[in-house]
């Protein structure tokens, strides 16, 4: 009897287990809204059937929401929605156009800029935007002892664009009347207007800064198309429509939710599942799958970066420009792009992207030509290749301009091997990596890159290759006095055509000297739903979502 009973019991238990399992699963699918729980469905009662909430998925969270104290792109993506700047970049470009300032005049000597401000603009807290507010913001950034600068904060972008405390470019900012503000410079600065349009110089509500104190950086108040609502760290930031925005017909969305989803593939899964509507940073490998999905569209951010191999000119191997030119001839850029960038990049010829004004089209790249490379090495006194192996620093982290540094380094290692140059690849952890390059003792050659900040060639050529930026961003220790003169002259020249000419000359010098192997300009790939309209990605990495809507 007991045996029979036992058998009965096993089946009961198994049945219960199976039933439980089925219940769990069916429950998940059964309730209908489980299917595409978050997306697809229009949210809020606003438009009949038309979606009016955008969920934007990205890889990391913001650091802070006060644009003046941050330098990271993820923070500026949010502040771009909450704040306006005096000038703006035209959609998808770095051409300046009026923003909070409607018009401006420049004195002939390039020292006095007078801006007419837009009238009737209000901050999100209801206070008026006016000349006093502009003065308040600029004084806050310029004063290292400002009462509105809190422990650990620094206005780094202000310092780097308008000179450090000892050499401020902006001497004074004055409100001439409620809607006129005047900047007096201590010396002409050619990219001045270009700089003012950077998202980091968003104008904050003085009242909010004064009242919220240190909390302002997590409760921003500006005049932008969206009002800051809530920040759940490492999860999401919620923005709501500014109903009284000054731009006609903007914003079109009722709500924007920006979510951090660190894993690229997981983020793409979420997009395919309809849980987000727009995403940053596609894996190159996922692009094929994206192109095969008719509900999604590929969005390319204009290429505005450069990835390069730098030679450490402190090392005597690289004293001879012929060695540097030889190695330039030895890298097969197109093969690397096809294999490791999934085609989402272009070979780089110069240290700045071709979309930027002042780019020198007439420069020919060092062709991939192993015989020529060997001949140049022989001329430099190394007929059998270099005697010693070189230390090649390859990036340990992924960057928009370099998704996988180690693999690219291995491809280059194989290229170099063919002309008798052996390299040992090293990838120390990122902080050590940067420290070592700055010291210039450990590496012989290294890999790095740069993304443009403000649409001025100065931000590439001077920042990365002038002798003034040693130690700093010039990690090749490249010094050329003639180049230095040209770059400094270009900084103070006010006429843009003349500047463009100077930058073209500069690129010729750099090409000849070959302190780098310019490698690629990548095109960051994003993806969105096909119903998403009006999104124009900016080359600088952040843009206003005021014009975005769903069909």
């Amino acid at each position: 009897m007991s045996k029979k009973y036992a058998k009965h019991n096993i089946w009961t238990v198994l049945l219960v287990l199976a039933l439980g399992f089925v219940l769990v699963l069916s429950g998940c699918g059964g309730s209908g809204e489980g299917a595409k729980p978050e997306a697809g469905q229009p949210s809020g009662g606003a438009g009949e059937g038309v979606q009016d909430t955008l969920i934007y998925g990205r890889g990391g969270d913001s650091v802070a929401l006060d644009p003046a104290i941050v330098t990271d792109g993820e923070s500026l993506k949010i502040t771009h929605q909450v704040f306006d700047t005096l000038l703006e970049y035209k959609d998808g470009t770095t051409i300046i156009q009026p923003g909070l300032a409607e018009s401006w005049e420049v004195s002939p000597d390039g020292l006095i800029y007078t801006f007419k401000l837009r009238q009737g603009v209000k901050f999100h807290d209801g206070t008026d935007f006016n000349a006093e507010a502009v003065v308040f913001n600029f004084e806050r950034w310029a004063d290292p002892k400002s009462p509105y600068k809190y422990e650990g904060d620094s206005f780094d972008y202000y310092d780097s664009m308008f000179g450090s405390e000892e050499s401020r470019v902006i001497k004074s900012v004055k409100a001439l009347d409620a809607n006129t503000v005047q900047f007096t410079l201590s010396k002409p600065q050619a990219p001045f207007l270009q700089n003012l349009a950077m998202a980091t110089f968003g104008i904050a509500s003085p009242k909010a800064v004064q009242e919220k104190k240190a909390d302002f950086k997590s409760n921003p108040v500006g005049t932008g198309p969206f009002v800051f609502k809530e920040w759940k760290r490492n999860d999401s930031i919620t923005l709501e429509k500014n109903p009284t925005y000054w731009k006609e017909g903007q914003p079109k969305l009722a709500k924007v939710i920006v979510r951090s989803i660190p894993d690229n593939t997981a983020r793409f899964n979420a997009l395919q599942n309809g849980e987000i509507d727009l995403m940053d940073d596609m894996n190159p490998d996922d692009v094929k799958q994206l192109e095969g999905n008719s509900e999604l569209v590929k969005i390319e951010r204009p290429s505005f970066n450069v990835a390069y191999i730098g030679f450490n000119l402190k090392k005597k191997t690289f004293n001879n420009p012929k060695v540097r030119q030889a190695l330039n001839h030895a890298v097969n850029k197109q093969a690397i792009i096809d294999a490791l960038f999934a085609g989402q990049a272009k070979p780089a010829v110069n240290p700045m992207p071709p979309t930027l004004w002042g780019y020198n089209d007439s420069i020919q790249d060092y062709a991939y030509d192993l015989n020529k490379a060997k001949a140049l090495l022989a001329e430099a006194g190394f007929p059998n290749g270099l005697p010693e192996p070189l230390t090649f620093y390859a990036m340990p982290v992924s960057r928009p301009y370099m998704p996988d540094g180690k693999k690219v380094a291995e491809a280059i290692q194989a290229d170099f091997e063919k002309i008798g140059v052996k390299v040992n690849i090293q990838s120390p952890e990122w902080a050590t990596y940067l420290d070592d390059l700055k010291g210039g003792e450990k590496d012989d050659l290294y890999m790095l890159g740069w993304n443009g900040d403000n649409g001025d060639p100065d931000n590439f050529l001077y920042t990365l290759l002038d002798k003034d930026t040693i130690p700093g961003n010039n990690r090749s220790f490249y010094v050329n006095e003639e180049l230095h003169k040209i770059l400094v002259k270009a900084q103070t020249e006010v006429d843009q055509d003349k500047r463009a000419e100077l930058y073209k000359q500069a690129q010729e010098i750099i090409k000849k000297d070959a302190p780098w192997i310019p490698l690629v300009h990548t095109t960051p790939v994003m993806a969105g739903k096909t119903t998403l309209k009006g999104y124009v990605p900016s080359p600088t990495g952040s843009e206003s979502l005021g014009n975005v809507y769903f069909e």
């Binding site: 422990e151 894993d263 899964n269 952890e429 902080a431």
Partner: protein, 334 residues
Amino acid sequence: MNAYFLKRLAVLIPVLLGMTLIVFSIIHAIPGDPAETILGDKATEQSKQALREQLGLDKPWLQQYGTYLGELAHGDLGDSIRTRQPIAREMVPYLAATLELTVASMFFAVVVGMNAGIVSAWKRNSWFDYVSMVIALVGVSMPIFWLGLMEQWIFANKLHWLPSIGRMNSRDPVEAVTHLAIIDAIIGGRMDQVWTVIKHLILPSIALGTIPMAVIARITRSSMLEVMDADYIRTARAKGLASFQVVYKHALKNAAIPVLTVVGLQTGSLLGGAVLTETIFAWPGIGRYIFEAISSRDYPVIQSGILIIAFLFVIINLIVDLLYAVLDRRIHYQ
């Protein structure tokens, strides 16, 4: 019993102190200039120097450690460098999110793992035994990130049964009170969201719970097999007790001690091992909090995060030890 309890508690103090020392030393052994990494390429030398002073990086090591302990004693974990918020306050939502995920994962692991182990032992060498032990073997060797991405692909993208990321419907979120999403949804009277929150928990907790589930299934099986051969089980059967009762009441109670040990250890390792799961499922938990802190070299957060996890691990072990004493009265005499 009380003496045992007190003795166990007293042991905690040197353990915790040792932990602070280890965590503190490891962090300071990492090379590279933290000020440069934190502030980035575009920072000025001036602001880097200011940050070094603020962090006390210019002071001697021992002095830094002393200050750290002093603040710790007051419950002050310091401020995050990245966000400049007090860590003790900032950590609460992350801790709650991880707690929720860990509990759900362990619930899955214990319920499925123990039952599979019990039934396997009960019906030794049956097809169920073979199948579940093969599953356990696969489960224990499955990379979490792969499993997570496959789950998303199958259950979210293809079948549309379950959401793939996050903790709740973010278009219509529940207000955070306790930061435990289920409880918050109940407090807010949002029954629709309770269900949504549970659905969001299913995929990540299966991903996170699979390894413990497999381990628990194997331990339960072998432990049960040992007990089932014991005399008192034969006696129980001879008395004519139902198999179900024999297995689930008599045998399980004595087989439970090794299982309990494993459950405790696995729960502890889940806390630390949640990084991958939290990354893939965009789950804002303590694993990601520490991960982000490491990538931005947020010293105080790394220290505090590891310390909290170590602390929880110790507490879980304490609970397990105390449960031994409850399950087996002989233990506290040892």
